[in-house]
């Protein structure tokens, strides 16, 4: 089976306490978005930090698109919950940062991001600083910044939490369209189970003491989703 992300016996400790113990799974290419859910403190963000390459497992290995994760890189950009924009750069320079890292010249960068800026509703605000933008716009910049480099895999750390319902829905649809157009994958960390069920094709439920449950396939019909949501809630409550 051809998988895009695989964990092979991954263990990770934090302050000598085990966060993950022998975590192993494979997600097939057909399951484009992997959701990570669980109670607070079970290691959702740690999971993302391991996939990004920011943290290294004490044991085992992680592969994304067949390549072992060893360092951070543009193959797996992160969209953060708190936007994490560079406050000294204007909007367009924030969006273009990944392209600058790729070595594109200023004019090439600006031309390359015009479409993303249009789709994310950021056109006309290019020269504003992050402090001059609303929270929703800042989050759209965060998405545009990650999408601009057209990565194979995007890591999302609760990116919709700070958005209003309307903006969140708009960005979600745009984001899903982008993923399918570019055949990209994503790891979505979320505390919102509805969001996870709607957006993800597979869900990894993290539990205390390094335990986990993998729901390998999320049905997309509304009745199935309701029952899957109920099942997920039960599992979390266990």
């Amino acid at each position: 089976m051809n998988s895009w992300i695989s964990f092979d016996g991954v263990s990770f400790n934090y302050n000598e306490q085990s966060v993950f113990k022998d975590l192993s799974f494979n997600i097939p290419v057909s399951q484009g978005v992997l959701g990570i859910v669980g109670k607070s403190g079970v290691g959702k963000s740690t999971f993302l930090n391991l996939v990004s390459g920011y943290l290294r497992p004490v044991k085992g290995s992680i592969s994304v698109h067949g390549k072992k994760v060893e360092t951070m890189g543009a193959e797996r950009p992160v969209v953060f919950q708190d936007h994490n924009l560079f406050p000294w750069m204007n909007l367009i320079d924030n969006v273009c940062f990944g392209l600058k890292a790729k070595g594109l010249r200023r004019r090439e960068r600006y031309t390359a991001v015009q479409e993303i800026l249009t789709h994310t509703g950021l056109l006309g605000h290019e020269h504003k600083l992050p402090s001059e933008l609303s929270g929703g716009m800042q989050q759209r910049v965060g998405f545009a910044r990650a999408l601009s480099i057209e990565p194979d895999c995007i890591l999302l750390d609760e990116p919709f939490g700070s958005l209003d319902v309307h903006t969140s829905s708009d960005i979600r649809h745009y984001f899903q369209r982008q993923l399918s157009e570019h055949h990209s994958n994503a790891v979505l960390v979320s505390h919102n189970l509805d969001e996870a069920i709607t957006m993800c094709d597979a869900i990894l439920l993290l539990q205390v003491n390094g335990k986990y449950r993998l729901i390998e396939s999320i049905e997309k019909s509304s009745e199935s989703q309701a029952s899957q949501l109920a099942h997920l809630k039960e599992l979390i409550a266990e």
């Binding site: 990004s52 920011y54 951070m72 890189g73 543009a74 797996r76 950009p77 992160v78 953060f80 708190d82 994490n84 560079f86 406050p87 000294w88 750069m89 940062f97 990944g98 600058k100 890292a101 790729k102 600083l129 402090s131 910044r145 990650a146 480099i149 890591l155």
Partner: protein
Amino acid sequence: MPRIRGLIGILLFAGLWQFFSASNSLLLPPLTDIISVFFKSLVEGDLLRDIIDSTCRVVAGVCVALSIALPLGILSSLWKSLPEYCSGLVEMIRPIPPIAWAPIAIIAFGIGDAPAIAIVALGAFFPLWFGIVQGLKNIKGSHLYAAKSLGANYRLVFTDIIVPSVMPFFLHGLRLSVGLGWFCVVAAEMLGASSGLGYAVQLSSLNLEMERLYTYLVTIGLTGYISNSFLMYFDTRYGSGRHE
């Protein structure tokens, strides 16, 4: 409005000065006399020459301090423990007033511009160094994380993340450095120079030329004010103003 209030404050002070100068004209010579000496020195060129000499020494001293503090700062961004290794020595030297080094500076560099520049450099170094160290401490890990996850190499991280993060602290340090540079240059010129604002203050006090003394004191204040305003512009444009 704050500027108008500031101007009113200066005018009130000038009025009080003029009033009290009638009772003790040696200690407080009439403002009209001071203004007259100011314009006379300006026309004759003495004042302008002294301003230029002192400014050159401050600029040279701050440049020397920058040429030491900046490479140390760049090294510190690579080797995080460097500021800790330097802290003991820095904390021991910092409390010594820069002017206390004057005899050593004169023995080392002789008479002329060099000792004054060395004293300015010593005084200007510490605010710059502390600004850079503080700036390095305030680099957000989350910004480095974001940059690296977008594929930035060390050069890009340095130019686009580290430098802008440190910039507000560096510019604040630079403002303090230039201010301290003016303190130091006046003191250094009073001890061992043959030109400059400090030298003129010393000469005027020895000759009991009070109008000339006050003319130079006001000039020192004005030059400091102008250089601070100049640096404030950069601070607002490239420093804290971009980090809100």
